[in-house]
Symmetry: C2
Subunit: 344 residues, 2 copies
C-alpha cells in the first residue's frame, strides 16, 4: 500500500470549453480512510456533461467544487480497507468519488454493486446509474409518451439519449426520431436502437429534417441539448406536447453566450409543458427503474455501448470529448482493471 | 328595425402594432338570422390581447379571420329576434360575436347570462368570462401555489392578471408580487387587490426590483407577457418552480422580432415546469370557477375594474390601447346601453 495515489485536482474554472488546462495531475500519498469511510481502488470513473457544470462558479446542484479540490465524479471500484461489515474488502462498491486511482468513500454514501449474473461491472456504469434514472423517469414520468405520439430525442447517442431511445421504443410510440452528431451514431440509432429516423444535425438542416421526419408534428421531446435544436422542435410541437428538459449540453460550454430560445411562446400557444427534473429526486425509486432495465436488458431489448477510455490520465480529454461529441454511449474511464469475474 | 348596422371588418393584417388602419368601418343592413340563429343587439364587446393574434396569418387557435371578414369578439347583448324558447326576445345572452352593433349568434354557441342579484351585466364581462377561466385554472390547476410560495404575476393590472392577483391572495401564498406598467396600476394592485409589492416595469430595473421583492426566490410565476420579464423571473426561480404560460403579450405585437429567452435552461437546473394552457380546455368546468368567483365577489374578496370605452367606433383604438398598457382591468366597449335593471 505504498503506491502513491494519482488524482486530478481543479486548477482553474473554464471560461468556455473545458480542457486539460483546467486540471492539475497530482501525485499524492494514498488517502487514509477515517472512521466510517472506505478506501476504494477505483475501477471505473463516470465522465458526464454535468461535471462541466460542477466547474462553474454558480453551480446550484452537485458537490461544491473549489479550485484546488479533487475533481468529483461517480466511481465504481473495489473495497480495499473497511471497518464496515456491509462493505468487506474485495466487495464491489459505487458512490460519489473523485477523479483518482484511490479514494475514500463515506459508508453512508457508498452503494453495494449487486451481483447479477451476466451483468459485468461495465454494464452497471451504463445501465444502472444516474443517467439511467434520468432517462427512465424523464421519459416515463415527465414526458409520458402515448402510443400515437411522435417522440424526438436529442443527443440520442449519448449516455442518457441512447437509453431514452430504447425506452421509448419499448414503451411504444408512433414515430421515434433520434438526433445525433455523426453518420456512425445515426446508423447505430437506426439499426441497433430502433429509431425510425436519425437526424445528423451537423450535416442536415434541423428544421427541414424535422419536417420530413415528423409529418404529424412533435408530441414528446426529450431534450438533452437546448439551443437551436430546442427552438426548432418548439416550432413544430403539437397541442399538449411535453418537453422533458434533461439537460442543456449546448449551454454548458459557451461561457453564457447562448442564443436565446425564440419559440418559448409555443408553450402557451400549444398548451404544452416543458419540465425539468433531477435524477436525484428519483433515487428512492431507483429499484423500480433498475428492475425494469435489467429485465429488458436480459430480454435483449436494451443494449449499451460504453465509450471506454483506458487510463485516469485521459479523464480531462474525455470530458472535453463529450462536448465535442466524440463519445457514443456513456463515457467511462477504466482507471484500473475490473476483477476478472466482473470484466465485460 | 330599419336601423343600419355598423361593424368593423378586417382591412389588412398588422405587420407590427395593430391600429385603426387594419380595420374598415362598415355601414351595412341589419343581419337576418337564419334558422337556428339569434339576432342580438350588442351591449358589451370584449377587447382582448388574443384578438391581435387572431389577426395574424398563422393563428393556430381562435376563429378564422380572413381579410374582409367582420372582426370577431366576444359579446354580451339582448336577444332581439329568436325562434329558440331558450333565448326569448329581451333575454340577455353571451357568445362569440363580432365587432358590430347587431350580430347573429348560432343558438348552439349562445350562452344565457344568469340573472344573479347584485351582479350587473358589466360584472359578467370581467368576472364570468374566458379571462376568469384563464386566471382561475391557470393559477389553481397549472401553477398550484402553496402557502409558503412567492408568487409573481405579470400584466397584473390586466383582465387576467388582476384576477390572478386576487385569487392568489385568497388561495394563500407567502409573498405576492405584481408587475404592471404605471404607478396608478401599482397603487391599485397594492391598495385594492392585495399585492405585497407592485413593480412598475417601465420605471424600475426588473431584475433589481425582483431581487428586492423576492428575497427567497420565486416559486410561482403567472406569465402574461413573456419576453424580458420572463427571462428575469427564470433567473430567480426556486427548485420545483411552476410557470403558468398564460400569454405572451410582449410577443403579439412585434412582427416576430422578439428577443429569445436566454434562461430557458433554468427549467432543467431547477427541476421547474413551464406549462401553457387554454381556457377552452376548462369550459366544461366553468361552473366550478364561476361559483367560487361569485362567492368571493359577494364576500368582497374579489373586485373588478372594467376599462369601459363607450362607442363601437373606439374598438380598434381600444385594442391598440391594451398593447400600450392603457387599460386597467378588462377593456370593454359599451356598444349600446345595458337594460336599466342590468346596468352597473
Amino acid at each position: 500500500m505504498n503506491t502513491p495515489n494519482r488524482l486530478w485536482r481543479i486548477a482553474s474554472r473554464p471560461t468556455d470549453a473545458v480542457s486539460r488546462q483546467n486540471f492539475l495531475w497530482a501525485e499524492e500519498s494514498l488517502p487514509e480512510p477515517c472512521e466510517g469511510e472506505l478506501l476504494v481502488r477505483v475501477v471505473y470513473l463516470s465522465i458526464d456533461p454535468v461535471q462541466r457544470y460542477w466547474l462553474s462558479p454558480d453551480a446550484t446542484f452537485g458537490p461544491p467544487t473549489d479550485v484546488g479540490m479533487p475533481m468529483p465524479g461517480r466511481i465504481w471500484g473495489v473495497v480495499e480497507k473497511s471497518s464496515s461489515p456491509a462493505f468487506p474488502p474485495g466487495a464491489l462498491v459505487a458512490g460519489p468519488g473523485i477523479w483518482a486511482r484511490w479514494c475514500t468513500l463515506p459508508v453512508a454514501a457508498a452503494e453495494p454493486v449487486p451481483d447479477w449474473p451476466g451483468i459485468p461491472l461495465l454494464a452497471h456504469t451504463s445501465l444502472f446509474c444516474m443517467q439511467a434514472l434520468t432517462a427512465y423517469f424523464g421519459l416515463l414520468e415527465i414526458a409520458r409518451p402515448r402510443p400515437t405520439d411522435t417522440v424526438v430525442v436529442s443527443a440520442a447517442a449519448g449516455a442518457v439519449g441512447s437509453l431514452v431511445v430504447q425506452l421509448a421504443r419499448i414503451n411504444g410510440c408512433a414515430r421515434l426520431v433520434a438526433i445525433a452528431g455523426s453518420e456512425e451514431k445515426c446508423r447505430w440509432l437506426r439499426e441497433q436502437l430502433g429509431a425510425d429516423t436519425a437526424i445528423n444535425y451537423r450535416t442536415m438542416d434541423i428544421g427541414q429534417a424535422l419536417d420530413a421526419a415528423c409529418p404529424d408534428g412533435i408530441d414528446v421531446y426529450y431534450d438533452n441539448v437546448g439551443g437551436g435544436i430546442l427552438d426548432a422542435v418548439l416550432a413544430r410541437i403539437n397541442a399538449h406536447a411535453r418537453i422533458a428538459c434533461g439537460g442543456f449540453i449546448s449551454h454548458y460550454d459557451d461561457g453564457g453566450h447562448q442564443q436565446g430560445i425564440r419559440n418559448f411562446q409555443m408553450l402557451a400557444l400549444k398548451q404544452a409543458r416543458a419540465e425539468g427534473f433531477s435524477c436525484f429526486d428519483y433515487v428512492p425509486r431507483a429499484g423500480e427503474a433498475f428492475d425494469a432495465i435489467r429485465r429488458w436488458h436480459e430480454q435483449g431489448r436494451i443494449s449499451y455501448r460504453a465509450h471506454l477510455v483506458k487510463g485516469l490520465e485521459q479523464a480531462p480529454d474525455a470530458l472535453a470529448g463529450i462536448f465535442a461529441g466524440r463519445n457514443t454511449g456513456k463515457t467511462v474511464i477504466e482507471v484500473s482493471p475490473p476483477p476478472p469475474e466482473n470484466a465485460a
